[in-house]
Symmetry: C3
Subunit: 216 residues, 3 copies
């Protein structure tokens, strides 16, 4: 089904919807925890959580000139965001922050894989060159976190903590580009690309692998 829009094919897949919700919640939670650490107020918590969850895809769509945004077309996501923030502010206390963050690593890794894969495929569908599609895929998955850190007045963790994050997305996005060029069916392209990213990210977490920095 190579000519069908990706979303049509994917709408068949309930697994994907579950992953998407889990991953979006994980992204929102990472914004939420950062906002809590910085002692932001209720408005700040919601804004930073929303920026982290939806910022990457929105930036990609602005750059590709695509409308409507995901969170405009499916505005229920915004209600979900509000609900997550309200629950977290009601029940989450300082001693839960570290365990929550550890628990979120796994849905976050799934999100990194899924959003990289769909972002890259969307860019390819818009006839972008391979390298541009790869950049768009990375942005989709990693730039929510970058915006979160900029707003919270930190150097983006994805650029500075030497832990492989965007680089896993980079490799997975190339898998998408190559398997798309080989005309693999869409479900296989998606599975290979997302799977590669998720696997690399999980390996990176388990092994503590470090990205090279500057040998000064």
């Amino acid at each position: 089904m190579p000519n069908l829009p990706l979303s049509t094919v994917l709408s068949l897949s309930n697994a994907q919807i579950v992953i998407e919700i889990a991953a979006t919640v994980a992204f929102a939670m990472s914004g939420l925890l950062e906002a809590a650490r910085k002692r932001l107020d209720a408005i700040g918590v919601v804004m930073v959580a929303g920026l982290t969850a939806f910022g990457g895809g929105t930036l990609r769509d602005v750059l590709l000139d695509r409308r409507p945004f995901f969170w405009v077309e499916h505005s229920n996501w915004l209600w979900l965001l509000l609900a997550v923030c309200a629950c977290a502010m009601a029940f989450l206390r300082a001693q839960h922050f570290a365990p929550t963050e550890r628990a979120m690593q796994w849905p976050d890794a799934l999100g990194l894989g899924l959003f990289t894969a769909t972002g890259t495929q969307i860019a390819l569908d818009a006839s972008m060159p391979a390298i541009v599609a790869v950049v768009m895929g990375m942005m989709t998955a990693a730039f929510g976190g970058v915006l979160r850190d900029i707003v919270c007045n930190e150097i983006p963790r994805a650029f500075s903590d030497h832990q492989p994050y965007a680089i896993c997305a980079f490799v997975g996005a190339w898998v998408i580009v190559v398997s798309e060029a080989l005309q693999a069916p869409d479900w296989l392209v998606l599975t290979l690309g997302a799977g590669t990213t998720v696997l690399l990210r999980m390996l990176a977490i388990r092994t503590g692998w470090k990205l090279p920095g500057w040998r000064a």
Copy 2:
């Protein structure tokens, strides 16, 4: 006149133009004062003042894919901005900063109300869902200040100072959405929505009401 574009109806209203100018100057002044405190140079002062005054509406228009921007269609606003900055740099001294800031609270509150109302209405006219229109209204009014603080290397005050600001816009924007759904005439929608926001903001300033943060 529900089918007329908002701007046509509003252009009849001289009161609105006066409020708009006063509010834009107030927004620009808040950027200016922040820039002065950070000891930026002349270019930085103008840039931060302009970003604060026009950043929120511009971000909304980028997200809604609307062109031309307000400050492109009416480029005299940019000359006004330059004039305000030149006057301020010539006459405003450190001892005037605090009183200026206090004096600006009131036109700033008017701007919060007016820009929230017009921003929400513009999003509704573009067929956005209610919750998205509310977010767009808040952004229009509050994100100029957010961009000001990001550029000045601070955590955005609107997210962190626990004073009700964006939340007043949030409530006012819902008033717009509801009264629009009830098919109230445009002037009434605008007056109710902007009035609610302004009233709440003024109450918040007078009573020192605090937004909840995280109970850590």
Copy 3:
């Protein structure tokens, strides 16, 4: 040839291509060095270098609603960026940072002139008013560096170091606007505008001229 698109005329000019490459490398290097000083990892180095090199023109194109972006149409620039970053990380050591920065001042000044001129002309071609075209020209040349500093958690140098940078672009952009209004041929418009900016910037570097700040 006033009705020909600028790019058609310019594609004849090999000198311009050489300047463009040298200037883009200089912009990327300034991002690279900042990233190195902040001890970012490999991903951060590439991202900040790319943002510095392409951010200004991309922001202009988003505001003017132009697509495709320069780096999408000519995606080889992204490969060049990767190559520059790889070479720099392999060979550049801390003791080279200061001399590299000094050496980069000159291609950077050429880039300031060239990108201001082309940015202003692109905005004029899109029927922007004069003051808006001037702002767009300045943004094209100076906002890559602004984004670099925001991501690296610094107040933008262009706004705070009191050294004339964007102001040189401001003057050069007005030269473009005026000579365009006088219907000078495109090559002359470009040469006068870019030349003015470059000359002012070089004078500013040589004489140590300081921008006025706030007399507090």
